[in-house]
Amino acid sequence: MFENLTERLNQVFKKLKDRGKLTEKEVRESLREVRLVLLEADVNYKVVKDFIKEVEERAAGQEVMESLTPAQQVIKIVHEELIKLMGGEEDNSLRLAGPPPISIMLVGLQGSGKTTTAGKMAGYLRESKRSPYLVPADPYRPAAIEQLRKLGEILGIDCYAPEPGDDPVQTVGKARREAEAQGLDTVILDTAGRLHIDEELMGELREIKKLVNPQEILLVADAMTGQDAVNVAKGFNDSLGITGVVLTKMDGDARGGAALSIKAVTQRPIKFVGIGEKLDAWEGFHPDRMASRILGMGDVLSLIEKAQAAFDERQVETLERKLKRDEFTLEDFRDQLCQIRKMGPLEDLLGMIPGLGKLKGAKAFRPDERQLVYLEAIINSMTKEERRNHQIINGSRRLRIAKGSGTKVQDVNRLLKQFAMTKKMIKQLGKKGAKGISPNMFPF
């Protein structure tokens, strides 16, 4: 449907001349694209609005870093702000301190994944050397109690058997006494799914809360939730005061904007994400990964970071000087290869190489990872002299190099051709001014 954000922003910045700073107008225009991307990812429109405003203030006037294109710079800022909003480095571990038995209460809409989460949590707690106790507090949904009981059986973790006729509040009270008697230290309350606007059932949750004073009240929310996430989060939080969030069904392909919406409304940490139906399919929440996912950028963002890290400023300067003086050698070429290989998946990387997306036929240059290894081997088989001056590499030298690197003469020829082409392209781009050149701009 949409091209990815990088491409969209590249479109925006096409008009951008070589200037060092992001102007207000450019920022506004690119954030318009970011806004659409966030809405498509199901971030609540209100949250998006505030977020964009914030980013706009931060981005205008910022220097574009040497190693990034303006589009990447904007994405970087957006990404950082998203991470910050979603908790950054905040502590999102479970709060388990307190005199046992402590209670963890799972709440949420129907079908959001509470029961499965209860099972996963029990398994996780046992691994953390706690003794969990599963408590089914859902007498309403057919076979809900049975479902939790079975999960307990699979896990080999005790599950309370509610007495027929007891309401959830009574069940929870009795279960806690039972936990105490058995010396179990962590009670996991699996409550029935309910609508946040169901006053009666929300009242029931408040009563349970009053009764056991849970250490954690976790809102279990489906990662596929749309705009309604803010209403749900607000409803549960206002009524109960949640302490954290579990995001479920993250193994699908939903972009998961609900995470941002919920976080924005409740300001409570997202503590876990569910990534499958199996009882060990869950993990801690990583704001950075979530931010990339919401932006629909996968690993590209971490590649931006890696690119930044890989090219320190001094290197950039020397390289730029060399490029300008047309002193770019096969040795430099190899260094670039090494660095790029260090950075990870080539396909993703190429997509973000500044300027490359715009170059006609650039795709044809894309070799696979294995080819990179060959290229490196070929260059390694050259003498220092050959690397510094490719002109001297004649037929017999080519033969020797091919033998030394375990490749064919044609491979050596191809490499030399690519190198010559790269040099030419650099020269052309270089004419547009030094800013147009970035060390990670090579067409391979």
Partner: protein
């Protein structure tokens, strides 16, 4: 510094939310009937109403663009004239796909319906409600417990089938879902049932092997009844955002979805995703779920849906 930045956003968000709530309570009607002119702010607010209902960026933009054109052409100046037009546009998208389920598509009994969808969408509950609907009409109904994966899924369906007065065919946990469906079909034929509902395990559309499993169910039952399944009903949760479109697209590609039921419309979610789904895929919209009770199922009505989409208080 970071702390302050953060609270700034949240502060604004809070205020914004209460404004949203006012907007919601006041409804779009309030927004448009105040005799105000047509300005950019109005377009933006209208856009927000649609986005907030999960209609999605693309459909929203095309709707608003269409309205802008018409406004220009018709020389409309008052905001109050916009809303009927917008309703009309959404209705035009949905109306053709308001197609009630008809049992006549089955040449022979039983009419076989396979119910599919992502985890927790409301498949089993909807089957309970549907079974009840038809047994109340004096029809004989069979249900197949083909969710042999999720803990207590069989027990859940069993309770529903009892409530609905339907027959149930079940195997043990972990059994082959298509074998259950096959047995149920044979039993339904033998007992001269009018309908057979196949409850399948929830699965994300991204899991190819699980989609294959569903394909196998359809293949296997077609051996016994070549025209079956007569309906592949996709359950979509109204709370779902834009992913519902991908779900519908993927399930449809794999299995040929013939109908959609939209559940959980009794909450605050509007289910606007079906507008995009209807527009892109043209799959008949059959039912809506409006609660957990056995009677909380209605036939999809485009008019009522559009009404609720814009009447933000319901």
């Amino acid at each position: 510094m970071e702390q302050r930045d953060k609270s700034g956003v949240f502060q604004r968000l809070r205020q914004g939310l209460s404004k949203t709530q006012r907007l919601l309570v006041g409804g779009v009607d309030g927004l448009l009937r105040s005799g105000r002119g047509v300005d950019e702010e109005l377009w933006e607010e209208l856009e927000e109403v649609l986005i907030a209902a999960d209609v999605g960026v693309l459909v929203t933009q095309s709707l608003i663009e269409g309205l802008r054109q018409e406004t220009k052409r018709g020389g409309i100046t008052g905001a109050q004239e916009i809303l009927p037009l917008l309703r009309q546009k959404v209705l035009e998208i949905l109306k053709p796909h308001e197609v009630p389920l008809s049992l006549d598509t089955a040449v022979e009994y039983p009419f076989v319906m396979m119910v599919i969808g992502v985890n927790g969408a409301g498949k089993t509950t909807t089957i309970g409600k549907l079974a009840h609907r038809f047994t109340s009409q004096g029809k004989k109904v069979m249900v197949a417990a083909s969710d042999t994966f999720r803990a207590a899924a069989i027990e859940q369906l069993e309770i529903w089938s009892q409530r609905a007065g339907a027959h149930l065919i079940r195997h043990r946990n972990g059994a082959d879902p298509s074998a259950v469906a096959f047995d149920a079909l044979k039993a339904a034929i033998a007992r001269r049932c009018h309908l057979l509902f196949i409850d399948t395990a929830g699965r994300l559309h991204t899991k190819e092997n699980l989609i294959e499993e569903l394909k196998k169910v359809t293949r296997v039952i077609a051996k016994e009844s070549p025209s079956a399944p007569h309906e592949v009903l996709l359950i979509l949760d109204a709370t779902t955002g834009q992913n519902a479109i991908v779900q519908a697209r993927t399930f449809n590609q794999a299995l040929g979805v013939t109908g959609i039921a939209l559940t959980k419309l009794d909450g605050t979610a509007k289910g606007g995703i079906v507008v995009a789904v209807a527009q892109e895929l043209g799959i008949p919209l059959r039912f809506i779920g409006v609660g957990e009770g056995i009677d909380d199922l209605q036939e999809f009505s485009a008019d009522a849906f559009v009404e609720a989409l814009f009447n933000q208080t319901t």
